[in-house]
């Protein structure tokens, strides 16, 4: 039967065309939404009211849906604890014995560290307050890896705060609402985390790709990493505090260095959100912003003779005790300016001997770090 002979042909053609037109219009709407989304900027405002509201709606739903799995997990743990109590006790005793030795080492190191800090007059980072939260939903696809945690703005959680489990870094807060916050995982393709290799101090950027093991990009130096090296946050750029455990380096099947995440050792059901502020916000901004006039240079026609500069040992700051093993040098290595309040051109920063003190590791400028 030809098309014209079909008695329903007249109905079919207009409806198909209308459906096609609606499809095209909806596709245009979807593409416009995609182009107007600013997820890549990770601004507080870019998260948007729609997402915040949805997260708030999802929070009780996720709580209710995840309750059975929590109860199941707790039940399994109880049964396991009952049946394996003896072996667990033996293991814990051995662990405790080892930990006691480590405790003594830690106390000695802490004592040393405090002495060095006092000698150098170092300003250490203040302790970071934190809030506990429970994970209620989890997305694990190749294009987005994020989780919802049931703590939000009411507990002081802000955009960008690092999130850790009992084993290591999980990610950072990307969106915050009342009672809920969305955590961008280290494995998300949009995640970039400045890290360092503990053994070599080499810097890298941890790049998520939707898989379980994020990639180490922009590694510098010759053989900076080996299988099994511990990876920590470097603190570069002020996004994360320095020294949070991230995982262990392994060579991937594709030849790239990857990280087996420390947080994967156990299910991430409870997390701690570190209320960490960028170091720039801890500094006294008005003091930093104040313009200091340059030192008077009118009387200085030439630089000091090189021999004099070579003999001079850098001196510590006035009032600070010289580190052990260093020779106290002359008070000024370079001709000091007349006015004592103006900063000296070169000898203003004391540089202690490298062998005497554990000098803080140099922090290069952060690489391409997407906030």
């Amino acid at each position: 039967m030809s098309f014209r002979d079909n008695p329903l042909g007249e109905l079919k053609v207009p409806l198909t065309w209308t459906a096609g037109i609606v499809f095209v219009v909806v596709l245009i709407v979807a593409v416009t939404l995609l182009l107007s989304d600013r997820r890549e900027s990770f601004d507080t405002d870019a998260y948007g009211q729609t997402r915040t509201t949805t997260d708030r709606v999802l929070e009780p739903v996720g709580e209710a849906l995840s309750a059975p799995s929590r109860w199941t997990g707790a039940g399994v743990d109880s049964i396991r604890g009952y049946f394996f109590a003896v072996s667990e006790n033996r293991r814990l005793k051995a662990e405790l014995k080892e930990m006691r030795q480590w405790r003594d080492v830690a106390i000695a190191l802490r004592d040393n560290n405090e002495r060095y800090e006092a000698l150098l007059g170092l300003k250490t980072d203040p302790p970071i307050p934190m809030v506990a939260a429970r994970i209620i939903t989890d997305s694990r696809g190749p294009f987005a890896n994020s989780r919802l945690a049931n703590a939000g703005a009411e507990k002081g959680v802000k955009h960008g705060h690092p999130v850790v489990s009992e084993n290591g870094l999980v990610g950072r807060v990307w969106g915050v609402g009342q009672g809920v916050s969305r955590v961008l995982l280290l494995t998300d393709p949009a995640s970039r985390t400045p890290v360092m290799i503990d053994r070599t101090n080499a810097r890298a950027i941890l790049t998520g790709d939707g898989g379980p093991n994020p990639r180490l990009d922009y590694l510098r130096g010759q053989n900076p990493v080996r299988n099994g090296d511990r990876v920590l946050t470097s603190g570069d750029g002020g996004v994360f505090p320095r020294g949070l455990p991230v995982g262990v380096a392994v060579k991937g099947l594709d030849g790239a260095w990857r990280v087996v995440q420390a947080s994967d050792r156990a299910p991430v059901d409870y997390v701690r959100i570190l209320l960490f502020e960028d170091f720039t916000s801890l500094a006294a901004q008005p003091q930093l912003d104040r313009l200091v006039p340059p030192p008077p240079t009118g009387g200085l026609s030439t630089l000091p003779p090189p021999a004099l500069a070579a003999d001079a040992t850098p001196s510590p700051k006035a009032g600070a005790t010289a580190p052990p093993g260093t020779t106290p040098g002359p008070q000024t290595a370079t001709p000091a300016p007349k006015a004592p309040t103006t900063p000296a051109p070169k000898a203003a920063t004391p540089i202690p001997k490298a062998a005497a003190t554990p000098a803080p590791k140099s922090v290069p400028a952060p690489a391409v770090e997407r906030p």
């Binding site: 409806l15 979807a30 949805t54 739903v61 996720g62 849906l65 799995s69 190749p142 294009f143």
Partner: protein, 171 residues
């Protein structure tokens, strides 16, 4: 029955109920549950519905349903707004365009078509992610999600079997 012998297909039956089912199942699979160190897979539960809707008949409401499902996935999974609507809509459009070819095919061939359309959607997602965040998603995780989604074809088949002949105008 409407005049002309064309039986109407209630939108809530072939669009509303599957949408609701997709939303519920996706939410259940978003629960952070791990057993022996393994989490639940994350298939695209919307894909069987999208494929079946395009096969059953051309409709004005179905693209809107696809858009809503895609937006739901974006908000739940945290992808860019519009990411899943675009991926699902181009798959829907591809099936709609090939509808004449798909008509009367056996289950195995339809499953292959479904797999091809799923691969098309994931390729679109891969390219959009590459352009958006300037990195390539891991091929293994993409393949894993593709495999989990392809295994859902029986749900699409059930939907097609149930509603394919419901509207005689589009047989």
């Amino acid at each position: 029955m409407t005049p002309g012998g064309a039986r109407t297909l209630e939108p809530w039956r072939w669009l509303g109920v599957p949408m609701l089912q997709v939303v519920v199942v996706t939410l259940i699979f978003a629960v952070p549950f791990r057993f022996w160190g393994l989490g639940l897979p994350e298939p695209i539960f919307a894909m069987p519905a999208v494929f079946a809707w395009a096969v059953i008949r051309p409709s004005m409401l179905a693209p809107i349903g696809v858009l809503l499902l895609g937006l739901f996935l974006d908000l739940l999974w945290g992808t860019s707004t519009g990411f899943w609507p675009v991926c699902l809509l181009i798959s829907y459009g591809a099936v709609l365009a090939a509808r004449a070819v798909l008509g009367g095919q056996g289950r195995a061939i339809m499953w292959i078509w479904y797999g091809a359309v799923t691969a098309f959607a994931m390729l679109a997602g891969y390219l959009i992610t590459m352009l958006d965040v300037k990195t390539m998603p891991g091929m293994f995780s993409v393949f894993w999600q593709f495999l989990a989604t392809v295994l859902l074809y029986p749900f699409a088949d059930r939907l097609i079997e149930r509603f394919e002949d419901a509207d005689v105008r589009f047989r």
